[in-house]
């Protein structure tokens, strides 16, 4: 592409983008700053620069609240749920988007329906379901629930991507005598890889933060996920702000790493796709 715009417009674009970048990073900055202040200081001035920065709160979160085990549990549950949910959805979205079969539209609507309501609405029935399956205080139960909750979103987005792939691709393969599973695994799946990465990213984040179901379904401290663990700092009348902010910083850091890796993958795939 040839350069089109000249100086003043270009400067405005730079200003706009970098200025907004600063505003977008504000919450992280506030979180980090407050995690370096003791709770009494946050209590008297909720926002401000740390008078004497201290890492005490991090030490407390790590030891008192056994953050390392929360982190492991969160990773196991969230990764497990995202992988399982995406895998089954990548399979299911494919025939929904590319085959005509009786009931395909109804089935599509059936999957879409789950997107309309947050799982918080099913609290009581989900509790009974889990209890009857012996999945109270079980990380497996939480993983299955989370995986299932991602299915509607994944199917919805992945169907859209499968639909946008050129039709000649699979037709040609079929003429060459490839089976349906080979067409799916070797032709279609690689083509939607950027979509898979973004779908996984967008499932991962809300599940990582979800706190209601761990509160209701988990009982023992060694099984707590990060949000369940951090909820221990929310008192009825007092909140341990310093520990909470430290916990939030520690909880967000893995997401940031994941995000940078995921966008790298998404962008790389996209550029590769373009140059073909």
């Amino acid at each position: 592409m040839t350069a089109r715009r000249r100086a003043p417009g270009r400067v405005a674009v730079h200003l706009l983008l970098w200025g907004y970048g600063v505003v977008a990073l504000l919450p992280l900055v506030v979180m980090v700053l407050n995690s370096l202040r003791p709770t009494s200081e946050i209590f008297t001035t909720p926002l401000g620069l740390p008078a004497s920065p201290t890492l005490n709160s991090y030490a407390r979160v790590w030891t008192e609240a056994s953050f390392s085990s929360y982190l492991t549990n969160s990773l196991v549950v969230t990764c497990g749920a995202v992988l399982l949910g995406t895998a089954v959805s990548a399979l299911a979205a494919y025939p929904l988007a590319r085959y005509d079969f009786a009931g395909s539209r109804v089935l599509g609507a059936y999957f879409l329906a789950g997107l309309m309501l947050p799982i918080r609405l099913g609290l009581v029935p989900i509790f009974y379901l889990m209890d009857s399956m012996g999945l109270i205080d079980s990380l497996l139960g939480l993983t299955l629930l989370y995986a299932a909750s991602g299915v509607p979103f994944c199917v919805f987005v992945l169907s859209a991507f499968y639909r946008s792939l050129p039709g000649e691709l699979d037709e040609a393969a079929r003429i060459d005598g490839a089976g349906e599973f080979r067409i799916f695994g070797q032709i279609m799946l690689p083509l939607v890889r950027p979509a898979l990465a973004s779908v996984m990213l967008f499932q991962f984040v809300p599940l990582w933060h979800e706190f209601l179901y761990p509160l209701v379904l988990l009982r023992s401290d060694e099984k707590f996920t990060i949000p369940r663990g951090l909820s221990q700092f929310f008192g009825e009348y007092t909140t341990d702000w310093s520990a909470l902010f430290a916990g939030l910083v520690l909880a967000t850091a893995p997401l940031f790493v994941l995000f940078v890796l995921a966008t790298k993958q998404i962008i790389a795939e996209l550029t590769a796709g373009m140059s073909k």
Partner: protein, 435 residues
């Protein structure tokens, strides 16, 4: 073959559906999942609570219980207060639930009682007969009148004040309403926020509390409450409207933009000496002092406003909650032992000193002089905070309608008369006087 697939799927679904029919009350017996089978005869009780901040205190308190009851081990499990109700309602009916649980008072207790999830304690915990009847009311089934919990604490409402700021400005705790207004004017002129009152998003539950503190005497206190319950009077009574108007009149002495001010803001204003008076409950003393241990705090009861039918100051209050026994607990006898102990002065004294709260156990005096003063005031001039105590037995809750309307009034969108009318209209949806 394809039929096999589908049949299998349907089969799995059917099993799942059949296995978890809810509500019938038979959803699985409470297994011994809490580890009672380990360690020979020793029984482990699970104690649930919404007081996340009390873990250390309860460790100490419960250690004393275990000294005298060597065969019982108690595990204290706190949950986030805002989500506690649902966690408890489901937990009581499922596996690995609590044996003993902290229960909400008054209306908040009823869903558990009506679902049959709690053991009635009448005749089982003798010490309850010695408890204050006003506090026991909070632990009773509204329909059957049975007692379902041992009350642990009560809260009193008054104004906390900063002794140093009062001294610096030559102010003494007011003896009359006019003196209080004059003091507020003086403080405001000196650049100090007179009353630390929040009316922001998180403060809607404290607005009815502020109204109680300033307006209880003005609407007629216990007498008006009895008239409401019998149907002789309504919230549209001019006395009640006048009590609501007091908040509007006092608004100039609240922080600027009060509708945007949150509870932590006013706690901070008061703890750092930028606000002189803090109308709040006894529950707020510990957090404020934790934030600024050197703060010298006093407390006074608001003098009756002009026109009040009640001419002595009032200390409104309510029972905070109670400890009850899960009807599905596998260790009923041991659980009962624990709640019996929670009705003894030994527990009450420990509770009061470790948690800086007002214990509901009769005869327990708080070690903190300020709390002792609040307790004394409540004993002498106590009155029920009626919107919470009597008007939470149906939806919409009386205090829920009230707080929304008061916030509207402070935002300049309604007037005291309409506030009172709305509250009346709200409670009329379910409240039948005369019961």
């Amino acid at each position: 073959m394809k039929r096999g697939w589908i049949a299998g799927a349907i089969g799995v679904l059917a099993v799942a559906l059949a296995a978890c029919a809810p509500g019938g009350g038979a959803s699985g017996q409470n297994g011994d999942a809490q580890g009672g089978e380990a360690g020979g005869d020793k029984v482990t009780l699970s104690l649930w609570s919404w007081r996340v901040e009390d873990v250390k205190a309860y460790d100490k308190i419960l250690a004393r219980f275990e000294e005298s009851h060597p065969k019982i081990h108690v595990e204290f499990k706190p949950f986030q207060a805002t989500e506690y109700n649902n966690i408890l309602a489901t937990g009581l009916s499922g596996t690995a639930g609590p044996d003993v649980a902290q229960l909400r008072a008054y209306g908040g207790l009823q869903p558990l009682v009506e679902a049959g999830q709690l053991v009635p304690l009448d005749g089982k915990v003798e010490a309850l007969s010695g408890f204050d009847a006003k506090l026991l009311e909070g632990a009773k089934g509204h329909k059957d009148g049975k007692i379902y919990g041992v009350p642990f604490a009560y809260q009193t409402l008054q104004v906390l004040y900063n002794k140093k700021l009062f001294g610096d400005n030559g102010i003494r705790p007011p003896a009359t309403w006019d003196e209080m207004i004059a003091a507020a004017g003086k403080l405001k002129a000196a650049g100090i926020t007179p009353f630390a009152v929040a009316a922001g998003p998180d403060a809607t539950w404290t607005l009815p509390i502020v109204h109680e503190i300033f307006g209880n005497a003005r609407y007629g206190s216990t007498k008006f409450r009895d008239a409401l319950l019998s149907g002789d009077k309504k919230f549209t009574d001019p006395g009640f409207t006048a009590s609501v108007k007091l908040l509007k009149d006092l608004e100039p002495y609240f922080p600027k933009d009060v509708v945007a001010v949150k509870i932590p803001d006013v706690q901070a204003l008061f703890a750092t000496g930028r606000a002189a008076m803090y109308p709040t409950g006894s529950f707020d003393l510990a957090p404020v002092l934790a934030a600024n241990p050197s703060l010298e705090v006093g407390a006074f009861q608001v003098p009756p406003p002009p026109g009040s039918p009640v001419t002595t100051p009032v200390t409104p209050g309510w029972a905070d909650g109670s400890f009850g026994v899960n009807a599905k607990s596998a260790h009923q006898a041991e659980a009962l032992e624990l709640v019996k102990w929670m009705a003894t002065p030994e527990f009450g004294q420990l509770y009061a000193s470790e948690l800086k709260q007002l214990s509901a156990v009769p005869g327990v005096t708080p070690s903190d002089p300020l709390l002792a003063e609040m307790a004394k005031n409540y004993a002498a001039n106590g009155a029920p905070y009626t919107l919470l105590v009597d008007f939470r037995y149906g939806q919409p809750n009386g205090d829920a309608v009230f707080r929304d309307e008061v916030q509207k009034m402070l935002a300049g969108q309604t007037d005291p008369k309409s506030v009172a009318e709305s509250v009346q209209k709200g409670v009329e949806q379910w409240f039948k006087p005369g019961n």
